[in-house]
């Protein structure tokens, strides 16, 4: 499954840090967790990368059940997509040669491992910006399925 150009552009639409998306993961017991994330980008036509800033429960869930969904949250304006597939965390502690599907840890961490320095989120108002951005790695979703907001396959 591949992202279209429109989808790739939608994931990069706000400021420098990309669009705002919701990332959903699921615990081993079947309890979902959904949180908004920014610092998002398409990667190699079939992947979405998100900065792992403070994703505590997300990481616990991915260690138990390595799947996820990413739904476009803001702005929407017709970009009503939900991307679903295998999902993992590539931490800064990973070996440079570590590969997950077609994603090489050294390559993506070199480019996106310090996202706030690469693309400072200057447009984020102070009352919603974190006091300090501390990136632990990257969350990577491989896109196996794409749905609209009603759950229909796109």
């Amino acid at each position: 499954m591949q992202l279209t150009q429109e989808m790739k552009q939608a994931l990069k639409v706000i400021g420098k840090g990309g669009s705002v998306v919701h990332l959903t993961t699921v615990s081993n017991e079947g309890k979902p967790n959904i949180v908004a994330e920014r610092f998002v980008t398409a990667y190699k036509d079939a992947y979405i990368l998100i900065a792992d800033m403070f994703a505590q429960k997300t990481k616990v869930n991915l260690n138990e059940n390595p799947v996820g969904s990413i739904s476009v949250a803001h702005p929407v304006k017709g970009r009503s997509w939900v991307f679903r597939g295998p999902c993992t965390v590539i931490s800064h502690a990973a070996s440079e040669s570590y590969r997950w599907h077609q994603v090489n840890a050294g390559e993506v961490l070199d480019e996106w491992g310090d996202w706030a320095a690469k693309e400072p989120p200057d447009e984020v108002p102070p009352d919603i910006a974190p006091p300090r951005l501390a990136q632990r790695g990257l969350i990577v979703l491989k896109i196996d399925e794409i749905f609209d907001f009603k759950g229909q396959v796109v």
Binding site: V20, H22, T24, T25, V26, N28, G30, K31, P32, N33, I34, V35, A36, R38, M53, F54, A55, Q56, K57, N65, V67, G68, S69, S71, A73, H74, P75, V76, S80, V82, R84, D127, I128, A129, P130, P131, R132, L133, F147, F149, K150, G151, Q152
Partner: protein, 143 residues
């Protein structure tokens, strides 16, 4: 324990819609997005209700039979300005899904991410909000 939503939470999710996650037989998330929802005053503002179409309801019904928990997050600008997550057990009544909210999280990025707001009492939860966010409503909606 079922938890009461604050006016700010209620305003943002009812006007910005929600992203709702349930879990299917394989343990994968199914996410639907609604343009609006309501918070039931008869339940003391502790139940989120939203409508789905027939196909979505079939999926939701099958999912809830195996995994009763759902997670709800504010949509559109609410994803940024109203950083909450609501978790609870859901049921279907007519064409509506009703979620009895049992856990409320702050999802503001930073050191408060994941903080359990429902561990505060209601007045403390209100104080937490007013000390952080001045906007009781989304932009363009009168406070």
């Amino acid at each position: 324990m079922i938890n009461k939503l604050t006016p700010r939470m209620k305003n943002w999710i009812s006007q910005m819609g929600i992203h709702v996650a349930s879990v299917n037989r394989s343990g994968w998330p199914d996410v639907f997005v609604t343009e609006s929802c309501s918070v039931d005053e008869a339940s003391d503002n502790s139940t989120i209700a939203f409508q789905l179409d027939n196909k979505q309801l079939q999926i939701m019904k099958a999912n809830l039979a195996l995994h009763p928990w759902v997670a709800v997050a504010p949509g559109q600008l609410g994803a940024v300005r109203a950083p909450y997550q609501f978790k609870g057990q859901a049921r279907i009544e007519d064409n509506f899904v009703k979620v009895d909210v049992m856990e409320i999280y702050c999802t503001k990025p930073g050191d408060e991410a994941g903080f359990r707001l429902d561990t505060l009492d209601y007045d403390q939860m209100l104080q937490f909000e007013t000390s952080r966010w001045p906007d009781l409503n989304p932009p363009g909606i009168n406070d």
